[in-house]
Every structure is written in structure tokens, then in C-alpha cells.
Amino acid sequence: MPDLLNIEDLHLEFHTYDGVVKVLAGVNLRMRRGDVLGLVGETGCGKSMTALSVPKLIPMPPGRITAGRVSFAGEDILSKSESAMEAFRARHLGMIFQDPVTNLNPLFTIREQLVDAVLYQRAQGQAVPGRWRGFMPSARQLRRDAQARAIELMRLTGIPDGDKRIHDYPHQFSGGMRQRVLIAMALAGDPDLLIADEPTTALDVTIQAQILRLIRSLVKQLGLTVLLITHNLGVVARSCERVAVMYAGRVIEEAPVRELFKNPKHPYTRGLIAAVPQKDISRGGLEGIPGSIPNLIDPPSGCRFHPRCPHVMAACSGTAPPTVPVGQQHSAACYLYTEGA
């Protein structure tokens, strides 16, 4: 079976007044249908940019893809025109973002926004050949169907009384409920891939738990493929099957979730896990990673983590380490695991 999503050696730059920001420097990522992949990393590591390269939502300029390929179910995405992308996004992708407040229009009711989403996805999804147009249902009928579907989506995402609440405005919903509305919207076109960019970061822990449970149940019910972007390792441990860890524009380690937490290989991954205050860590026992994330206008040479790495060697500042297998479905980009280094 071909991969659903295959990102190969993706390089992305942003041209700014201060210089060229090398945001992504050779990202490799593959997802198969049914995967729930967590993309983890700290601020500015490029996790959102990697995800946004799939629907091509990166503003260009200032952005520029200098090398690499993104293919979705075998189709090359980067060469698609904008109009082709519109149809592509509607048919294959759903996205949810961090902030449920700014992603809903406060001037329209949920009904208008959700029904619009359903209608748009349907219009893009099925091009009606000209001679059948006469048999098309009326606009009113389409709207009525779309509204039924919208209410169905609200039920699916756990919004009680969908048939009544659909007439409410976004401000009448709480943060968690708004995020559910956005998930409903993202599911409107039965997407092949759901990209969730920090879906619970703006929410309280109890609401976060509700939303994560919802995503897990949708994965089970609908067989969704999910790319979950987060900076929270706890969220990954709870929701994902596989994890890719990013640092300064590269995927530096990838493994099944249990393997990654039990047997992390890359020094950055180890540092990241050790930095989370967990149970059984006594006072003073928490380890941070010294230094801070590099400036990507002038990133460190070779492995971009080497100035902060406790195991730094001579080879590290030369060229970037290749990604090598370090276990069952487990790969890391570090000279500690390349032979002869």
C-alpha cells in the first residue's frame, strides 16, 4: 500500500529583513492510512510549518520551498495549482487549530458556518457533469441536507442538543465546545487526513482530556488518519501511536510511542523527556536542557542540536547526521548511532 502522506527532504525558507530563516532543513515524514502520528517539538522547531506544507497554506512569498517533495496518496502536491489545491483540501484534508476563538467568525451562527463548510466540501468533492445539472437537487434541498449533516456532525463530536445549538453564535459556546465545532467542520468532507495543530493548548486540562478522548474515539469510529502537532509530551503519550520529534527544522527521531518514551535515543529527545516534571521526581531532580533554541537565520552547522548536546563530538559540527535505524521502526539522526563516526 502506498503511503498516504510522504514528505521527503523538505527545505523551506522565509525571506525576512533580517535575513533568510531556514525554517525546515530536510524534513522526512511518512504516514500510512490509519496512522495517528504525533509531531512534537518546542517553539519554532518547524512542526506547524511541516504540517502546513501539506495543504500548502504557507504564504509564499515570504516562504519559499527550495527542495523536497510532498506527495499525498502518490500525487505530487507541490506542483498543484491553487485552484486544484482548493478541491484537494476540500476532498482530502481537515484541519483544526490551536485557538478555537479566532477560528470561528463571531458574526455568523454556527449553522451558517458549519452548513457552509459542508456545502463547500460537497461542491468541491463531486463535480457534476453538465448534462446532469438539471437533475440536481434545488439549492434549498442542498441546504436542508447540509444542515442535517451539520447536526449529525455536531452529534458525532459530542455537542449536546445540536439541533438547537446550531442556531447559536460562537460566543455562546465555551472554548471546549468551540473546538468541537471546529472538529465537526474539519470532518465535514470525510477527510483522509486530519491535521490537528496544538488542538488542546488553549484549553484547561479537564477540557483537554475531553477533546483528546473525542479525537481518540473519532479515530476508532471513522478510521481517521491524524497528524497531531503538539509541544506536550503527555498529550502524545495519551493519544498517538507513533511520534516524530523535531528540532530546529529537522525530524531528529521517530518511533512508536512506547519505544520513544522507554528507549529514547537522540540526546534531545532524552533531554525533552527529562525536562517534563513527572511523578516520582523529587525536588531538584528535574533536568533542563542548557541553552535555548537556535536562531534559524544563522543555525549551527552540522547537527543543529550540537551546541546544547551533552554528547557532542567532532563530527557533530561538520555535516548534518543522517537518519539511521536504531531499532524496530525506530530511527534517529545522531552521530552516536552511525557507524564509524
Binding site: E42, R213, K279, R283, L286, I289
Partner: protein, 329 residues
């Protein structure tokens, strides 16, 4: 040892205005009858979700907000009604560190000026004497000497927070209110800052009131934890007790909701219904509409008092009545 800070029946209501002539329609009870004590050299965590009133409590203690009712005692003295002039002396005793490091630093001042300003205000220290003190403080929090003439925007979030910490330490306070000091930071930097705060506490015998919504951080930092829900304390106990044997249904739900970074970690997952609702049954338990436990009839009608059910373990829940004869006033 007596408590450094005591808070008795603190209330802070904000008027809700509207209607004709912008009348006061009702009160928003941000903090409603909160009492706790904090011993010198200890760390008390104030935990709650957004809107639970934790920051308001912190600001009332520093008198950055005027409490509506209640009493705040610092070092045995009532500071609730101190005048501005007397407050200034108190300000060198208690300081605050804020959540957004970038927003709490003046972008037009250099690091040296920012850290030096409290020295001038409180001790009339200037010139070389002030400079030496500032450099010493910068060294203590892990900033380098060459940062003295830089501006806040030239620093990363973690470094900015170090500047904020140095500024708070400048007046040699005894109590520091930390309002979500690391929630804007990445985990690797958060760990650095948390460790720094612990070192400073040991070095300068500081007392912390640690406000946070992150239970993992609270478990690491605090000796005692008070949980807030809609402006009321629902449970107070030592950190181990809160995390190992929570009694209040809200505490139990909150702790079960911590995403532990351990895929093998199994625990009963309590997912509570709904979200923080600001309309709750008048007179009843504020948590009753979301409670997952078997609620009693009085949950809807009688507000549960905060009772000491075991030594140093207070819970406000009708399901956990106090042992006979040990009721707190």
C-alpha cells in the same frame, strides 16, 4: 513556626455593569471566602483552571487589587488596609513574577535599568553601587555581564523570565508571588527556570505562593497545594496527599486529566462533564453541575464548608464530612 502569610475569608467581587446608566447589575465573585496560611520558607501552590480566581488572589495579597472583604496578615500584621505610603515599605517584602515575561518588562529600558529601578525606589541606590548590585543579581539568576546594556526584546522567553526574577529579587523580598512563571516557556527552558527558582528559594530563604494551572509543575515545586474552583478553595493538603489520595471529586478529575508523558501509565480516567460554568445553583456546591460522584441532595442547596477531615487536609465536599468534634469554624 507561625505563618508568614495568612489569608482570612478573602473576597473579591467585581461589579458587572450594564443596563441604563451603566448600573451595577450583579457581582462577579472572582474570589469567594478564601482562607489559607503559608509558612516561611515553604511553597504553596494555588491551582485551578482559567477563571478560578488564582491570579486575583495573588494580586489581592500584594494589594495590587483591593479586596472586597477579608483580612490579609503578613508576618503577624494586618496589611489589608495599609495606606499607600506604608504599602511601599511592604513592597520590598513581597514581590511578584508574572506570566508573560515580555509584557512585564519595559521595552524601552535596558536590563540594567529594569533590575536597577527597584534599588533606586526602595534604597536610593544609584551609580556604581547600584551597578554592582545589579551585576550580582544578574549573576545569581544566570545572566551574563554583557547583557547589562541590552534590551528585553533581544532575549529569549527564558532569559526574559530571568530578568523578571532578578528584578523581583532586587529588593530582597521574603515572599514572592509567582503567577504562572513558566507557562509561556518551552519545557526544556521551563525546567531551567523551575530549578533556578528552587535554588533561589534555598539560597535566600524565600517563601513562594506558586500560581499555576499545570499540575505537573505544581507537584514538582510545591510543599502544599490549594485547589480552587470558581473562586472557592475545594481542597488543601500536602502535595503528596493531593496527588496520591485526593478526596474532592474535582481534584480527582483534575489529577486524572494530567497527561503523563508515559504511555504505560494506567489510571482510571475521570472525564468530567461540561466546563467551568459561571452560573451555578445559588447556595449549592459550585462543582455540583459537573460532579461525577454520586451527589447528595444538599449538594444543590447547601454550600459545602471547608472542613479538616484529616490532619492538614481540608476538603469542601458534602461527601467528606469532618470527623465528629473536629469542625473548623
Amino acid at each position: 513556626m507561625s505563618a508568614l502569610l495568612e489569608v482570612h475569608n478573602l473576597r473579591k467581587f467585581f461589579p458587572v455593569r450594564g443596563g441604563m446608566f451603566n448600573r451595577v447589575l450583579s457581582d462577579f465573585r472572582a474570589v469567594d471566602d478564601v482562607s489559607f496560611a503559608l509558612k516561611a520558607g515553604k511553597t504553596l501552590g494555588l491551582v485551578g483552571e482559567s477563571g478560578s480566581g488564582k491570579t486575583t488572589i495573588g494580586k489581592c495579597i500584594l494589594r495590587l487589587l483591593e479586596p472586597t472583604a477579608g483580612q490579609i496578615r503578613y508576618d503577624g500584621a494586618d496589611i489589608t488596609h495599609l495606606k499607600q505610603r506604608e504599602l511601599r515599605r511592604l513592597r520590598s517584602e513581597m514581590q511578584m513574577i508574572y506570566q508573560a515575561p515580555a509584557a512585564s518588562l519595559n521595552g524601552r529600558m535596558t536590563v540594567g535599568q529594569i533590575i536597577g529601578e527597584p534599588l533606586w525606589i526602595h534604597e536610593r541606590l544609584k551609580g556604581d553601587a547600584a551597578r554592582d548590585r545589579v551585576l550580582e543579581l544578574m549573576h545569581v539568576v544566570g545572566l551574563k555581564e554583557e547583557h547589562y546594556y541590552r534590551y528585553p526584546h533581544e532575549f529569549s522567553g527564558g532569559q526574559q523570565q530571568r530578568i523578571g526574577i532578578a528584578r523581583a529579587l532586587a529588593v530582597q523580598p521574603r515572599l514572592i508571588v509567582l503567577d504562572e512563571p513558566t507557562s509561556a516557556l518551552d519545557v526544556s527552558v521551563q525546567a531551567q527556570i523551575l530549578n533556578l527558582l528552587q535554588e533561589l528559594q534555598d539560597q535566600f530563604e524565600l517563601t513562594y505562593l506558586f500560581i499555576s494551572h499545570d499540575l505537573g509543575v505544581v507537584r514538582y515545586m510545591c510543599d502544599d497545594v490549594a485547589l480552587l474552583y470558581l473562586g472557592k478553595i475545594v481542597e488543601v493538603a500536602a502535595t503528596e496527599v493531593i496527588f496520591e489520595a485526593p478526596k474532592h471529586p474535582y481534584t480527582q478529575a483534575l489529577i486524572s486529566a494530567i497527561p503523563e508523558p508515559d504511555p504505560d501509565f494506567q489510571r482510571e480516567e475521570i472525564i468530567i462533564r461540561g466546563d467551568l460554568a459561571h452560573s451555578f445553583p445559588a447556595g449549592g456546591c459550585p462543582f455540583a453541575p459537573r460532579c461525577h460522584a454520586d451527589t447528595l441532595a444538599e449538594c444543590e442547596t447547601v454550600p459545602p464548608p471547608l472542613l479538616e477531615i484529616e490532619r492538614r487536609h481540608q476538603v469542601a465536599c458534602h461527601l467528606h464530612p469532618a470527623p465528629p468534634g473536629k469542625e473548623l469554624p
